[in-house]
Symmetry: C2
Subunit: 319 residues, 2 copies
């Protein structure tokens, strides 16, 4: 079977105009975690789904994910991703808008290539569309938060549910749905994706402050530099006393302070309120929910080992 990179190369062969398709091939061929296609494959394999056909579903979601990255990077003015210039930076925003649009359509077309019961194809397109729309909603909530004075933690969690977790859930449910899993298992796969998404994002928020840079592969402190209201920041605010709270808010409203100094002062407050421990506990809690979800999947235990390993790997991830 072709690797995912070979599949992308094949899809993109001989397409014109170059300014539309080169950025797509640029982002799709970057080395990434490929976590979403892995989720699709694992769920499908649990129920004996045909591996070759499953690749169409796996690539559809990886393409959908990369479409959101291209557009998010314009909105967030992010210059670098995976150690390379972002599409909007390497080309320009117009090309990034348009190649993102085209990539979303091509993602949908992967599902239209499926050779299976038309009802299955439609069910997958339904999950795909719902996921795509919710990711847009999540990104808009995230943009709205940038200018909000106060962001309650439950609002933040609702946002990452939409922006991150529903994609994991959509991948797992789609893999299962392609392979004709029963309704209860589909619900369990979906819930698992949501809980995994929460754990994944909270770990992400934590790594931005506490990662070992040599393993992390990039500089820590990006969220702090950008005054990003992450779980770690919001939780620290909640735990802080009045003077720490004022100091944190003041630090998160400046953009001209020396980067290193700002990071150290923020981290000192984070350490003082022990937000690392609290966040790790929240991650553990979501991981436990994942383990409960996985129990509800109606398949033999040995079929679950891959997914279990992935959950533990993500829980302990260093990058």
């Amino acid at each position: 079977m072709n690797t995912i990179e070979q599949q992308f190369q094949e899809i993109l062969q001989d397409r014109k105009p170059e300014n539309l398709y080169k950025p797509i091939s640029y982002i799709l061929l970057q080395p990434g975690k490929r976590l979403r296609p892995q989720l699709v494959r694992m769920a499908s394999a649990m129920f004996g789904g045909d591996p070759e056909q499953t690749e169409l579903v796996a690539t559809a979601f990886e393409m959908l994910h990369n479409f959101t990255l291209i557009h998010d990077d314009i909105m967030d003015k992010a210059d670098v991703r995976r150690g390379q210039p972002t599409v909007y930076k390497k080309w320009n925003s117009n090309i990034a808008i348009l190649s993102g649009d085209a990539l979303a359509v091509m993602a949908m077309q992967q599902l239209l290539k499926l050779q299976c019961d038309p009802k299955t194809s439609l069910a997958l397109l339904d999950i795909f569309a719902q996921t795509a729309l919710e990711v847009c909603e999540g990104q808009q909530f995230d943009l709205d938060f940038e200018t909000s004075e106060e962001v309650p933690i439950d609002e933040y969690l609702k946002m990452i549910r939409l922006k991150t977790a529903v994609m994991f859930a959509g991948c797992l449910k789609s893999g299962g749905r392609y392979a004709d899993a029963d309704e209860q298992s589909l619900q369990a796969l979906y819930d698992l994706g949501i809980h995994l998404g929460y754990a994944f994002q909270l770990a992400d928020d934590l790594l931005d402050v506490y990662a070992d840079e040599s393993v992390f592969g990039k500089a820590v402190g990006g969220d702090i530099k950008d005054n990003k209201k992450t779980f770690v920041y919001l939780k620290a605010l909640e735990l802080a006393d009045e003077s720490q709270k004022m100091e944190l808010k003041r630090l998160f409203s400046t953009s001209d302070m020396d980067e290193k100094e700002k990071f150290n002062r923020v981290k000192a407050i984070f350490d003082a309120v022990d937000v690392k421990k609290i966040t790790e506990e929240a991650i553990s809690l979501y991981t436990d929910l994942c383990l409960e979800d996985i129990r509800r999947i109606n398949t033999q235990e040995e079929n679950k080992s891959g997914l279990l390993a992935l959950i533990h790997q993500l829980q302990n991830r260093q990058k």
Copy 2:
């Protein structure tokens, strides 16, 4: 049956976040020509398609069209559309990118609501995706032309085929496909859309120079002001003698000349080479092709009268 505006209002009810959905409702509820849904309806009615269900297809394409408008207006830095501020101008580009994305997904979801043979739904989603991708390609060619020294007329026609005509073709074919038209009729409907699209765009290019402003509803000369390489400009270049050619190229590389003076000088050359007549002849030629296409549709003659009237109306359009 609900009007298209009522349908849009219903779809958009109670959606959050507001910053995502307000721009969508803003653009969808603007009074437009609603040409694309009309094409879907006419083709479906020709073959006895259920009118209520056909509305799902009609709205899908109108939404897809409006998605392209939201994104194109960012790329073209267009401040006004239909006499009102564009989405990116009224809100900002981030909101315009994201609400465009969401609108494209919602368009697709209209087709997923169809209650018909799953194979029909998939065929419609296929036409929809193909159309969406080609419109992106057309827009990229158009952006590329902005910085091209020379644009051959056949390249220009290929661009408007993708950017404008395939949407008309997709609408007509989808209407027919929903109503189970035979293959020959579907091909004829598709070809009709392409030819109608060419005629429509050439008329558009011509109106920018020669419209009666009181009927046109907006100022003429927008394309000339923006140095846009339209059919009228490219054809005039082809017909011009050496000195006219140099003058035209010079005029189309300035942006600081008095708008009115530039318009008059460009128009003087257009008049001298009689490009109006040549363009009208090209429009007639495409209209004749439409009439040939319509003959190939396997339905009773009386079913064709609406479409025939529309073709003549578009051929003689003043705005």
